[in-house]
């Protein structure tokens, strides 16, 4: 006798409910209160946690950039330069280091950062001379631009 579908009075029982519940609860174990134990509350909390973590990825970039800027500002003030002057003069001298690298240098390589601050200061002085002098003095050495082709 060939049977293609089960008889109507045969019902199937759900046997792996435990594991389906654990799949959700494992992400809620470090929560506070009943959300880390009760499934009904944990489902809502876990879903909100995931949504928040996806949205926070865009803000993490902004947050880290602000952190780097704060650190570079503090380090350059130690050497007597303000942050906008430091960054703009560094760009004018064709030193294209991003803020992440500059912050790491300021923490782990203080002498390198001091030399970068001195470079920015020198370029700043040359910029002032070029703008205010307007004379027959030659162009500054650090104001020369290298063209890569």
């Amino acid at each position: 006798m060939v049977v293609l579908s089960a008889a109507r009075w045969v019902r199937s029982r759900l046997t792996d409910r435990f594991w389906r519940v654990q799949e959700v609860l494992k992400y809620a174990r470090h929560f506070r209160g009943r959300k880390n134990r009760c499934y009904r509350l944990a489902v809502r909390s876990v879903r909100r946690a995931f949504v928040r973590s996806t949205k926070a990825r865009r803000e993490k970039k902004r947050f880290l950039r602000a952190l780097w800027i704060t650190r570079i500002e503090a380090a350059s003030l130690e050497h007597g330069l303000k942050y906008p002057a430091f960054i703009s003069n560094l760009l004018k001298s064709q030193v294209e280091l991003n803020r992440k690298v500059l912050a790491d240098l300021a923490i782990y390589e203080p002498k390198t950062f001091k030399s970068l601050a001195a470079l920015a200061q020198r370029r700043r002085q040359e910029g002032f001379l070029a703008a205010l002098g307007d004379g027959k003095e030659p162009e500054g050495i650090f104001s020369r631009i290298v063209h890569h082709h």
Binding site: E78, H79, Y108, P110
Partner: protein, 132 residues
């Protein structure tokens, strides 16, 4: 030179169980070719008689991690694919890596501390004068 991180592969199955059919076919057909293609991996085949635990493929790595994969109700080709995947892995745990870089010596010039850019009179203690 490339050193394969997989030390040994143990194939534990029962010769009579129904879900170990793929494992038995793998042992008959593809195990020798696999062993020949991976000469630095030792392949142990240990059938345990009678109804026992589910058929399992156990991989041991050079750093001591042991990884067990169920091969119940899998075809011989799937077991070959599984075995090659385990052979190409290293024994590190499969978790999220927080940073793609790591250094043991992050600072060469000395890490910054609040007294790095201050005049050295604050840090250096001269020779102490004898009380006269």
């Amino acid at each position: 030179r490339y050193v394969r991180q997989l030390q040994r592969l143990q194939l534990l199955f029962s010769p009579t169980a129904a879900d170990a059919r793929g494992a038995r076919q793998f042992v008959e057909e593809a195990a020798q070719d696999f062993a020949r293609q991976h000469p630095d991996v030792v392949l142990y085949v240990s059938p345990h008689s009678g109804p026992g635990p589910a058929p399992v493929l156990r991989a041991e790595y050079l750093n001591g991690t042991v990884r067990e994969e169920l091969i119940a109700s899998k075809t011989s080709e799937e077991i070959v694919q599984l075995a090659t995947k385990l052979a190409n892995q290293s024994g590190l745990d499969i978790i999220r890596i927080r940073k793609p870089f790591h250094t043991d010596n992050p600072s060469i010039q000395g890490q910054w501390h609040p007294l790095t850019n201050k005049p050295s009179i604050l840090t250096v203690q001269g020779p102490r004068m004898q009380p006269q």
